[in-house]
């Protein structure tokens, strides 16, 4: 496996006057309560994970869980108190200011919850901003920015000011701006949280379309579990600065690691999350019908077909080779069965 694009090792972020000293004394065993008694607030507590190229990691947590702080450590908008962060093998915390700026100008893009557009610049100027900061000529940066305007579907509004746009449109500008320098790594901090539900769904679809095309390495922050399930390759669930569980959506739904995670998964419609491969029998029985389904199908999409069969259905992999089977009763159990012992 190739080198991960983002790699965190025991990252801590603690706010407070003598945070560093306390962290050293604690030997990596950070207890939020004791720290709080000493005037320190634990933002991120011992976070270790990797994100590989083209993967979308969604960090999910309620407000105050430290997810935004974690993101800011990795983008080094704030300095982590302890631990190591590697971006494409480079030790982020060892970069000097110039190297950091270089990294941001060429490799990173970020989208913000409140859009954070520059109020005095038009749509196209906002999008061209990172390019101009890099020192690209005005004409080139504007023409590049116009391409981005088209990409996010704002043609015709390039000369509007942010205040003249709706929330959804403003966030499109934010997205376009973050993509203008063609970054490899894309940070999104609750990008759709400030939007209406309908617009949010539209933007999520749009986002998935973009990602399909661009294949960026993504860290996406949200407090909305449904959003996380819909978008993520893997989900990290945070609580009080600690990553409670980090896994694929299916595995989180099927095997919640802690009681806290389980609460989130309770209401989740499984058929929308789980793939056939998550519930199939890997033993190949002879007793299968003619129907074949791909193991990558979401249950919801093929449930009706499978349920109309009498016998088990063969499951195939990407090479159309049969690798297992699935029984209609299994589908029913998964969708309607008891939550805890559905496996």
């Amino acid at each position: 496996m190739s080198e991960p694009v983002i790699k965190c090792e025991n990252v801590y972020k603690i706010f407070g006057a003598n945070a560093e000293k306390m962290l050293q004394e604690s030997n990596g065993n950070v207890d939020a309560k004791t720290f709080q008694d000493n005037g320190c607030i634990v933002g991120v507590n011992n976070a270790s994970f990797e994100v590989s190229k083209g993967e979308m990691l969604v960090v999910m947590g309620l407000s105050g869980s430290g997810k935004s702080t974690l993101l800011r450590c990795i983008s080094r908008l704030t300095d982590a108190t302890g631990g190591k962060i590697f971006i494409e093998g480079q030790d982020l915390l060892k970069l000097n200011n110039k190297e950091l700026i270089d990294l941001r100008r060429n490799k990173m893009g970020m989208v913000f919850q409140s859009f954070a557009l520059l109020p005095h610049k038009t749509v196209v100027e906002n999008i061209a901003f990172p390019l101009q900061i890099k020192g690209i000529k005005t004409e080139d940066s504007i023409s590049k920015a116009m391409d981005m305007v088209k990409l996010v579907g704002l043609d015709g509004r390039e000369n509007y000011f942010p205040r003249e746009l709706s929330g959804g449109q403003q966030q499109r500008v934010g997205i376009a701006r973050s993509l203008a320098v063609e970054p490899d790594i894309w940070f999104l901090d609750e990008p759709f949280s400030a939007l209406d539900p309908l617009i949010r769904k539209e933007m999520q679809d749009e986002f998935l379309r973009l990602q399909e095309k661009l294949q960026k390495t993504i860290m996406f922050i949200t407090h909305d579990f449904d959003e996380a399930l819909k978008l993520a390759d893997r989900i990290a669930i945070m609580k009080d600065g600690i990553i409670e569980q980090l896994d694929t959506p299916a595995k989180i739904v099927l095997n919640p690691a802690t009681e806290y995670v389980r609460k989130f998964t309770e209401e989740v419609p499984r058929e929308k999350v789980l793939l056939i491969e998550d519930v199939m029998d890997t033993s190949i029985t002879e007793d299968v019908g003619d129907l074949k389904v791909s193991k990558y199908e979401v249950i919801e999409n093929v449930a009706e077909k499978i349920l109309s069969q009498e016998k088990s259905v063969a499951v195939t992999d990407e090479n159309n080779k049969v690798i297992g089977s699935i029984n209609p009763t299994k589908i029913i159990n998964t969708v309607f069965g008891g939550r805890k012992n559905s496996n």
């Binding site: 908008l77 520059l118 109020p119 610049k121 900061i133 000369n159």
Partner: protein, 717 residues
């Protein structure tokens, strides 16, 4: 007892008032007490007591400590004076290279710095002034007088007024559009044909140096304060005092440090104009949302780019208000600094006022105000300007304005040249209309004033007498009747009840300073005039504001009027009142009322406007009528903001009272004016200025603390 529990604050205030009045009545006026003689007049009188501190002898009339505190700070003005003198003439002598005499000369450091600064300012002013009017000084600065004598052709010729007028109109067009361009053109033509060209250009050259310098320094220091807590902490107390310090008071020390003339005026203007610019820059930068800063960082901004491309533009709104303030102060100072020899419209205005030539004063005042409004509008337009990337423009379109300006330069020169033939025997009106050789309406106004006096003399006199005898004199007597101890108790008690021990200590310190200065009586008179002005201003401002608020159009119109009035230099307000009431306290008070009504009205409208729309709907749905909505919903919520307006009203009123000394009042202002012509005036002027500033700060502290609590209580902000 129930009442006591229900309204504890009310009873505390009552208790305070009872103590205050008890003190007032129990302490008698000493028989020897007379106001006019004051306390420290620096004249020898066998009845005076003396003490010596730091080698300075202070003489004063001793009273019972409860009645008036002894002027224990009486040495301060003399000491400041001596220190300044020492600093200028003796401290740190150093060798400096003298260009003219080609040798090293020993000079004190501060003097050298002041002289260098002075010559730099003078150069800038003359560069602009001579571009506009013509002259030698700029060329002399690069060469020498000898060289000029040998080369008599070398002189900046000055621009014909037609070119300057066209230039302004084209610039205004480029910045904003037709409307402003027409306004700019009209203003310039007006100035020219009314014969105010030369003084106007002198004033303009002063402002074109002072305003940009103040802007740059203010912005720079504001950014420094934003970046470093330490700088902010060091600056803050100075800023606070400077905010309420009357501009008059800075004149005298500056006179000592920088001498007389336009350059000193520029430096004083900077001293006065920079603090509000710093505060507003700081305020604006603080209000930039953190995510916008992060967005800038993630776009790869370095610190410089972050500041210039993200922070400052995003904070533009507040910084613009700062620019507006700077321009206001500059024009205000353009008049005031005429006291220390700055040339221009202000000088003419003061001269005319001194001669009681109301007509001339009115013309000069109108010119200043028009230029002030023009520059204000142009600076706003400049800041709001946008670039358009998509116009596929031809060379002509892109350089339209420059081409037009070039054309107007050529036409202007031709016109001026033709003018030499047309006006062979008189002045070349196409080059420059000389001062007082244009159309003048002064006679008309003077006749008008005479007519008003002849016709309404009886009524005006009667009103004047009534006001002075029945209202002002008794009020003044009441203020002077307060024993010092009673005043201290009242102020400190109010501080304690509003803001707790901290506030109490702050106002105690401020009041004590004034009480221990030699000018307590004068300060009381200043306060009485300001109080009267503030009460009337608030009554008018709150009423007018509330009435205008009822209609959206009226409110917008009123805010526009406030904007324009605020741009007028404060001295201009004295002109019409002197027309009507002559040289009396009434004139000053009416000027104070008019001037201070501006912030009262503005803040009332803004406060009422800021009441959330949701509350309006909620109130309407509860079935309130318009009046109920006003009294039950809008007033309580708008009140904190209106109180901030009161704060501004007090500052404005104090400024005007002090300026009123020019007409002749018996308060601190009179002494500041006196200090101008006193060789030991610097210390006195500064101390007096601090006294006035402290009066302002006492109210400022009380009101701000109260507003802060109230806002928290109401959950606003």
């Amino acid at each position: 007892m129930d009442y006591l529990k229900k309204y504890p604050k009310l009873f505390q205030w009552l208790f305070l008032l009872i103590i205050f009045f008890a003190l007032c009545f129990s302490i008698d006026v000493p028989e020897t007490y007379k106001f006019i003689r004051g306390q420290a007049e620096f004249v020898k009188d066998p009845n005076q007591s003396t003490y010596v501190f730091l080698g300075k002898e202070v003489r004063y009339y001793a009273f019972d400590v409860f009645w008036r505190l002894p002027p224990l700070l009486g040495w301060l003005p003399i000491w400041i004076n001596d220190s300044l003198f020492f600093l200028m003439n003796e401290w740190m002598p150093m060798e400096f290279w003298n260009e003219d005499t080609q040798e090293y000369k020993t000079r004190p450091l501060v003097l050298e710095i002041s002289r260098t600064l002075t010559s730099f300012m003078t150069f800038l002013i003359f560069l602009i002034r001579e571009t506009l009017l013509g002259g030698l000084e700029t060329i002399v600065a690069f060469t020498s007088w000898d060289w000029i004598d040998k080369n008599p052709w070398a002189e900046l010729p000055g621009l014909p007024w037609t070119i300057v007028a066209a230039g302004f109109a084209i610039l205004a067009y480029k910045l904003s559009g037709k409307g402003l361009a027409i306004f700019a053109g009209l203003v310039m033509v007006y100035i020219s044909i009314f014969g105010q060209w030369k003084p106007s250009m002198q004033t303009l050259s002063f402002i074109l140096v002072a305003a940009p310098l103040s802007f740059i320094f203010g912005l720079g220091l504001g950014v420094a304060a934003y970046k470093s807590k330490r700088v902010e902490k060091a600056l803050y107390p100075i800023l606070l005092v400077m905010q309420t310090m009357p501009q008059y008071a800075v004149l005298v020390p500056a006179l000592v440090l920088f001498g007389v003339g336009d350059h000193a005026a520029v430096i004083i203007t900077m001293i006065v104009a920079v603090p509000p610019m710093i505060l507003l820059t700081l305020l604006g930068l603080r209000a930039v949302p953190p995510e916008v800063i992060e967005a800038g960082r993630m776009s790869g901004c370095n610190n410089w780019q972050l500041m210039t491309k993200v922070l400052i533009p995003t904070a533009r709104r507040d910084i613009l208000i700062g620019v507006n303030q700077v321009i206001m102060v500059c024009f205000s100072m353009a008049v005031i600094s005429a006291f220390i020899g700055a040339k221009g419209l202000g000088f003419n205005l003061l001269l005319a006022l001194n001669q009681l030539n109301i007509g001339l004063a009115l013309e000069a005042g109108l010119c200043i105000s028009l230029i002030a409004i023009l520059l204000d509008k142009m600076s706003l337009a400049w800041a709001n300007k946008q670039t358009d990337y998509f116009g596929n423009l031809t060379f002509y379109q892109r350089n339209k304005n420059s081409l037009f300006f070039g054309a107007s330069v050529i036409i202007g020169i031709i016109l001026a040249y033709v003018g030499t033939f047309i006006f062979k025997d008189t002045f070349n009106y196409l080059f420059e209309v000389p001062h007082n050789k244009g159309i003048s309406t002064a006679d008309f106004w003077n006749k008008g004033v005479d007519w008003i006096f002849d016709t309404f003399f009886v009524y005006i006199k009667a009103f004047n007498t009534w006001l002075i005898v029945e209202v002002l004199q008794p009020m003044r007597a009441l203020y002077l009747r307060m024993p010092a101890v009673a005043t201290l108790v009242l102020v400190v008690g109010a501080g304690y009840l509003i803001g707790g021990i901290r506030s109490a200590l702050v106002v105690f310190g401020l009041t004590l300073f004034i009480a221990l200065s030699p000018w307590w009586d004068r300060a009381l008179v200043t306060t009485y005039m300001a109080t009267f002005g503030v009460i009337m201003s608030c009554a008018i401002g709150f009423t007018v504001g509330t009435l205008c608020f009822q209609s959206k159009r009226a409110a917008a119109f009123m805010l526009g009027v406030c904007d324009i009035f605020q741009t007028f230099p404060s001295f201009v307000y004295l002109i019409p009142v002197m027309m009507l009431f002559g040289i009396t306290d009434t004139s000053v008070l009416i000027a104070v009322i008019v001037y201070a009504t501006i912030p009262a009205t503005r803040y009332t409208i803004e406060g009422l406007r800021s009441v959330p729309a949701g509350l309006h709907d909620a109130a309407t749905m509860s079935g309130v009528n318009k009046f109920q909505r006003l009294t039950k919903i809008e007033f309580p919520l708008a009140f904190p903001h209106m109180m901030l307006g009161l704060n501004q009203t007090i500052v404005f009123a104090l400024f005007m009272v002090i300026i009123g000394a020019f007409i002749g009042t018996e308060d601190l202002g009179q002494y500041i004016l006196k200090a101008l012509s006193d060789k030991n005036g610097a210390g006195i002027g500064l101390t007096l200025g601090i006294c006035v500033a402290f009066i302002g700060l006492i109210f400022d502290n009380l009101i701000r603390t109260w507003v802060g609590q109230r806002k928290k209580h109401l959950g606003i902000d």
